[in-house]
């Protein structure tokens, strides 16, 4: 596909063009700049970006599927970016989040993309950010970024979101771990999924207590859902809309967008600098002895 045809395809919201554009940006292709500067900034600034994270098996993909179904009833166009880890050994990945969302596969207004972490730390944030822009520019008014949470790269992704949901379920020993990692503080809404299972009420109570102790101002931070039966989704979406309007009124949304923007620019800086610096280091053939930190400083000062 030539770049002109690709840009025309993006304007027409052609699924092939959208898929291709994301690949080119993800691979750091030369055409990335032309693609990203052709996008509709108005649509990008209007879209709402939801981050959904939580431990494996909590029901994130099933919940996302439920949210899609609900939003599709009001004919909204939706984008989904589902992130799964790459193997640090082979570099390969299994991207399996689609399995729970296949009922929407032939719906042209549900734009879904699976993405592997590819061992990038900040770089993932930059790539996912670009995918968000492409999707929203192609008419997706809600974008969901779904990722397995607790690690650093997931926290970076959450920074991209206007509103973050932390999905937990009873019976997963990981819940306490998720709190330790600090996810509880960054989440706007805590979702207790599998609310029909034993222990759900206790988990919800524990979460209420912890968030009160952490001084959260929101009274109703915890939502209960049974994603497999589409229960609690309507209420959850109402809650999301409330938080969104609070954020718009208080300037929080603007503040987060600013933070995400600056972070993305920083990530791109590092992405661009990394190979250059590596080349410079290799060229110098530095002696093994001596402090690496000092050497780094010297190289940077000369640049």
């Amino acid at each position: 596909m030539t770049i002109d045809r690709l840009l025309e395809g993006l304007k027409q919201r052609d699924p092939r063009a959208i898929g291709r554009a994301i690949t080119l940006v993800e691979n750091g292709d030369e055409s990335a700049q032309a693609i990203l500067s052709s996008l509709d900034e108005d649509l990008i600034s209007q879209a709402i970006i939801l981050g959904i994270t939580g431990p494996p098996g909590a029901g994130k993909s099933t919940l996302t599927n439920g949210i899609i179904s609900e939003l599709r009833q009001s004919r909204k166009r939706i984008g989904i970016i589902a992130i799964d880890p790459s193997s640090p050994i082979s570099g390969g990945a299994i991207l399996g989040d689609r399995i729970r969302m296949m009922q929407h596969a032939t719906d042209r207004d549900v734009v879904m993309r699976s993405m592997a972490t590819r061992g990038r730390l900040g770089g993932l944030c930059a790539t996912a950010g670009a995918a968000v822009r492409i999707m929203s520019s192609c008419g997706c008014s809600t974008i969901i970024i779904e990722t397995v949470g607790v690690g650093q790269s997931e926290m970076d992704i959450i920074r991209l979101a206007d509103i973050t949901l932390l999905v937990l379920a009873p019976g997963l020993g990981d819940d306490i771990q998720a709190m330790k990692a600090g996810l509880l503080e960054v989440a706007d809404i805590l979702v207790v999924n599998k609310a029909d299972c034993k222990g759900a009420d206790i988990l919800a109570m524990d979460l209420e207590t912890v968030s009160r102790q952490e001084g959260a101002t929101n009274q109703a931070r915890v939502s209960m859902t049974v994603a497999t039966e589409n229960k609690g989704i309507t209420e959850l979406l109402e809650r999301i809309a409330e938080v969104d309007s609070e954020h718009r009124d208080s300037g929080e949304r603007e503040k987060r967008r600013r933070g995400a923007h600056d972070q993305e620019v920083l990530d791109w800086c590092l992405e661009i600098l990394r190979p250059r610096l590596l080349a410079e280091i290799t060229k110098r053939d530095l002696p093994l002895l001596g402090d690496p930190r000092l050497k780094a400083k010297e190289i940077l000062e000369e640049q």
Binding site: I18, N27, S90, M102, M112, S114, I272
Partner: protein, 137 residues
């Protein structure tokens, strides 16, 4: 800027048979060979597979079948891709497939067919070749 190209493939099972051990085995083997594998699971329609392949912008599609419906379903996926303007995405397939059907399937546009006993290295290099060929177009 550094380019970080990875081959992306979709592995799915069209039709009604639910025997997914083969598909999962291939998915894992491809992952271990460095591919990014979009796994769509069992009981998919050819149209669903084609739509997912396009959104994910994969370099190849791999299908698996055990029940004997391959002769109808594999070409249906090729046709669904063609209808959606994505005839350049190669389709490979595997399963319990009799010798005489392989000729028919290849004539219908399936690039390669694997049967029980095909060595995994051969399968991986066939996927790699199919992906390379597609990206060079």
């Amino acid at each position: 800027m550094e380019t970080t190209h990875k081959y992306r493939v979709l592995i799915g099972k069209p039709g009604l048979d639910g025997h997914d051990r083969g598909a999962k085995f291939i998915a894992r083997a491809l992952r271990d060979a460095g591919f990014e594998v979009v796994y769509t699971g069992i009981r998919r329609s050819p149209e669903e597979i084609a739509a997912a392949a396009i959104q994910e912008d994969v370099d190849a599609v791999g299908l698996s079948s055990l029940s004997g419906a391959h002769i109808r379903l594999f070409p249906a996926v090729v046709e669904a891709l063609r209808k959606a303007g994505a005839q350049d995405i190669p389709v490979l397939g595997g399963g319990v497939i009799p010798e005489e059907d392989i000729v028919t399937l290849k004539a219908a546009g399936i690039v390669e067919i694997f049967t029980p006993g095909t060595p995994i290295d051969k399968i991986i290099s066939a996927y790699r070749e199919a992906c390379e060929k597609k990206s060079s177009v």
